[in-house]
């Protein structure tokens, strides 16, 4: 039974579209060690983490007992060495502790993250595990081969059950961790449009379009719900649950369905609720990459079916026709800069040390512009050689890409890379974490390789070097980590260094890698939101710190949280770190 199912599952993986996950062997080995052996992600929650760790480590240590039990049952006697008997007993008891804890969590505590999961299956599995371990302990204690026999039978049952249940993760989790991204978590994998018709892939419409990584993702889901718990959309009443998305894909996959996944395994609304914040991916103990699934489902719906939330259409048309999502004239981009005497590069000019990529938000939105103005003033003051592209800076294409319009994104990627390369740009500093992410991680696929810094990184560096010397203060300032900085790109320390230099930083509960989205990601800046708003939710959290100021490092976060704070009625000022730094220098 096991073998037959194993063959079926292996076939599903092999028949899937290839996943582009090259090299980086050493990083993958480190991941295996930390995430699988070390149970790092699971231990993000201490009690459930330990519960699972005990069971998992127990499994590893107890594995040889199968051989030993088989020998005994075959008549060869109990060859278990004494040290191993003691060791395995200890671990067997740990497993039992784990199982009991698991039952307590599931039956008594009943955390919300299990909503939608198949709890019955879990009970069967836990009972089987307990039985396997109890028979082992009984065999060790009483020496009766009958217990060894029972032990083996139960293991056999367990083996057969594994590939038909969510316990399949035993076999596939380690594989999934191996295949996961080792770097550039913020980079979406590009599609190719220059292939012959029959090889074109426009994201995922049916299970036949899934990549091998996506198939192994589906196999590895244990329905633990940690992703669901972390999801800002789910937390504010939307129907999106990353867990349910993966379960939906898995069910369609096992059924070998030819129907579109959206509308059959995964409700359409779910894929558009996503803000691509990556909290789900961060939380997942088996390295499932939910954002890739959701984005691929979006790509197919948008690019092939032309089906997507209507309110985003003006943005898509504006990005394509006006080169920015607000549909404002490109000639307006540099107006603020000219007034400050910032150099605007013309073709043929020598490249500056840093190309300051302003971004559409700062160019066209008054609230976001404050950050660019401050950044430019600070860079000038510190004597940094920088310039901007002005009207030749087109949208990086991030909103189109996150919406699922890979085609329009690539047109802009190619255009911007050509502009940057012709200009001889090597170093870029960007204010917007979305621009930053795209320039640093995604333009490489289109021939654009640059050293990219977020403005908070460069400003922190300048303060470190003494080129900017702000005056300290004891005013409290809370910091909101942007998803695309803190989670996708690990930029957490530098903004904090800046804030320490100019005030008294206060951490929110959900901060750093665990930050809670402002709600604008995944092109949601241009989409309607139903139910409780994510930005209001986050603004409440910020207001609860009691700090006078909420510091941010992203133009979207600025606008969303400013709106949120106003709506909540809190007496809190929302400002970019650059603005605050500039003020501390006056």
């Amino acid at each position: 039974m096991f073998a037959r199912r194993a063959v079926f599952l292996t076939r599903l993986v092999l028949e899937a579209k290839p996943a582009d996950r090259p090299g980086a062997t050493s990083a993958r080995v480190v991941n295996e060690a930390e995430i699988v052996l070390g149970q790092r992600k699971l231990l993000q929650r201490l009690v459930p983490g330990l519960m699972h760790a005990f069971i998992f480590w127990g499994f590893l240590v107890l594995f040889p007992t199968i051989v030993l039990a088989a020998i005994d049952v075959a008549g060869g006697g109990d060859h278990t060495p004494a040290w191993y008997r003691d060791l395995s007993d200890v671990f067997a008891w740990l497993v039992l502790v784990g199982v009991v804890t698991a039952f307590v969590i599931r039956k008594i505590v009943r955390p919300a993250r299990f909503a939608g999961s198949h709890l019955g299956e879990a009970d069967v599995i836990l009972a089987l595990i307990a039985a396997v371990v109890i028979t082992l302990l009984l065999w060790h204690h009483f020496g009766d081969s009958g217990f060894a026999w029972a032990h083996l039978v139960l293991i056999g049952l367990f083996l057969a059950y594994i590939p038909y249940s969510k316990h399949l993760h035993i076999a596939t989790a380690a594989v999934n961790v191996w295949m996961a991204r080792t770097r550039q978590r913020g980079r979406l994998e590009p599609l190719r449009f220059d292939l012959p018709d029959d090889q074109l892939r426009f994201g995922v419409a049916t299970v036949a379009d899934l990549t091998r990584k996506q198939v192994v993702d589906a196999f590895s889901c244990t329905e633990c719900g940690r992703c669901q718990d972390a999801c800002p959309a789910y937390a504010t009443g939307k129907i999106l649950s990353p867990k349910l998305v993966i379960m939906g894909v898995r069910d369609q996959l096992f059924a070998q369905s030819e129907e579109p996944i959206v509308g059959n395994g995964v409700p359409e609304e779910m894929i558009w609720d996503c803000v691509t914040c990556g909290a789900c991916v961060e939380a997942c103990p088996v390295s499932i990459e939910h954002v890739d699934h959701i984005l691929d489902l979006r790509r197919s719906r948008l690019m092939v079916d032309s089906s997507f939330p209507a309110e985003a259409e003006p943005m898509l048309r504006d990005v394509e026709r006006a080169s920015n999502p607000w549909g404002k004239p490109q000639t307006e981009r540099a107006v603020w800069a000219e007034e400050l005497g910032v150099r605007v590069l013309e073709p043929g000019d020598a490249a500056p040390e840093y190309l300051y990529w302003v971004g559409c938000a700062a160019s066209f939105d008054e609230r976001a512009r404050a950050s660019a103005v401050a950044t430019a003033k600070l860079l000038k003051r510190a004597g940094v050689d920088f310039a901007i592209l002005g009207p030749r800076e087109a949208c990086t294409g991030d909103p189109a890409r996150r919406m699922g319009n890979e085609y329009v994104f690539q047109a802009y990627a190619e255009q911007n890379v050509a502009t940057l390369n012709e200009q001889g740009v090597t170093k870029i500093v960007a204010s917007c974490p979305h621009c930053f992410n795209t320039l640093a991680n995604e333009y490489g696929d289109f021939g654009g390789r640059y050293e990219v810094l977020h403005h908070s990184e460069l400003l922190a560096q300048l303060v470190d070097e003494g080129r900017l010397a702000p005056s300290a203060s004891s005013a409290s300032v809370a910091y909101h980590d942007s998803c695309y900085l803190a989670r996708h790109n690990d930029v957490r320390a530098q903004p904090r260094k800046l804030l320490k230099a100019i005030g008294r930083p206060v951490e929110m509960e959900r901060s750093g890698k665990k930050t809670f989205c402002c709600g604008a990601g995944g092109a949601h800046m241009w989409m309607e939101e139903h139910g409780t708003q994510i930005n209001v939710e986050r603004a409440k959290e910020a207001a609860a710190t009691g700090a006078e100021t909420l510091a941010v490092a992203c133009p979207f976060c600025t606008v969303m949280l400013d709106d949120g704070v106003r709506e909540v009625g809190a007496d809190m000022r929302v400002a970019d770190v650059a603005t605050l730094l500039a003020e501390a220098l006056e």
């Binding site: 309110e311 985003a312 003006p314 943005m315 607000w326 549909g327 066209f364 939105d365 008054e366 609230r367 800046m525 241009w526 989409m527 309607e528 708003q533 606008v559 709106d563 106003r566 709506e567």
Partner: protein, 272 residues
């Protein structure tokens, strides 16, 4: 002699005023169902050094037909004439073109609201026999009551500052007096004070009104995106730093709960 086609509307009165600046005016009109080509033939058959009409839908259409019949150029939406040089409007008013109008008679329509109205005076009715070309065969009443947001010439819009669903009564009053539609910002629809159909913005309706009056609206980028199609924007806000002021042509710094009723009262007063 300047031949002016007139309808019974203010734009025609403006066109007559404009034409009087060019010479003696002969104002004409037609009776019966509108039949563009037949009416144009009648106009084209008249002797005139110039044929003028208002830059309305009908005026532009008629004179385009006349120009085609006579195979001469036609300048639409003119704001000024100097000899054979005309200044005309492009890009919905954002750009002016100076051009030389060759050929006779000179055919042009007058850009709306660029010239004061004049007393039309005597109007001749010309005969225009049915020539079998397309004409109006029926008139269908619009099913929707009230002015649609998308087509409205004036939109009076309320934002967070209005404070409540009931607060919109003063907005509705002003909109009614101006024959316009009521709009709102996203905060208002989220709060449930107005339906989504009233929402002006990137994810709501993009308006193309002649005037947008934004009351208590701070002016988020997405909202402005829906309003930027308006030719003129008047902002009423207590905050002189509100982002909307950067996009407004006119502003009143004050509380909309006082300002809006005051405007309505003044309108009623001057209308008598």
């Amino acid at each position: 002699m300047i031949l002016v086609f007139v309808d019974a509307d203010e734009l025609s009165a403006q066109a007559v005023g404009f034409a009087r600046g060019l010479g003696d005016v002969r104002a004409v009109t037609f009776e019966g169902a509108y039949q563009p080509l037949a009416w144009a033939k009648a106009l084209a058959a008249q002797e005139a050094e110039a044929i003028v009409a208002a830059g309305s839908d009908r005026g532009n259409e008629l004179l385009a037909h006349v120009a085609a019949l006579l195979d001469v150029p036609f300048a639409a939406n003119v704001t000024a004439v100097d000899g054979d040089t005309v200044t005309r409007v492009r890009w919905g008013g954002s750009l002016l073109e100076e051009a030389r109008l060759h050929g006779e008679p000179r055919i042009l329509t007058v850009a709306p609201h660029t010239h004061p109205a004049a007393d039309i005076g005597d109007v001749e009715t010309l005969p225009a026999p049915d020539d079998g070309s397309p004409k109006v065969i029926a008139s269908v009443e619009e099913s929707s009551g009230g002015v649609s947001l998308r087509d409205a010439k004036v939109v009076v819009s309320g934002g967070r500052g209005v404070g409540s669903a009931e607060g919109f009564a003063i907005i509705e009053e002003l909109a009614g007096l101006l024959g316009g539609a009521v709009g709102c910002s996203r905060v208002v629809t989220s709060a449930g004070w107005r339906p989504h159909a009233d929402q002006v913005g990137q994810t709501g309706t993009k308006i193309s009104a002649d005037l947008y009056i934004a009351c208590g609206i701070s002016g988020a980028t997405q909202h402005i995106a829906g309003a930027k199609g308006a030719k003129k924007i008047l902002a009423i806000n207590t905050d002189p730093e509100a982002p909307i002021l950067a996009s407004a042509d006119y502003a009143v710094i004050g509380d909309l709960h006082e300002v809006v009723p005051a405007i309505s009262a003044e309108l009623k007063r001057v209308r008598g």
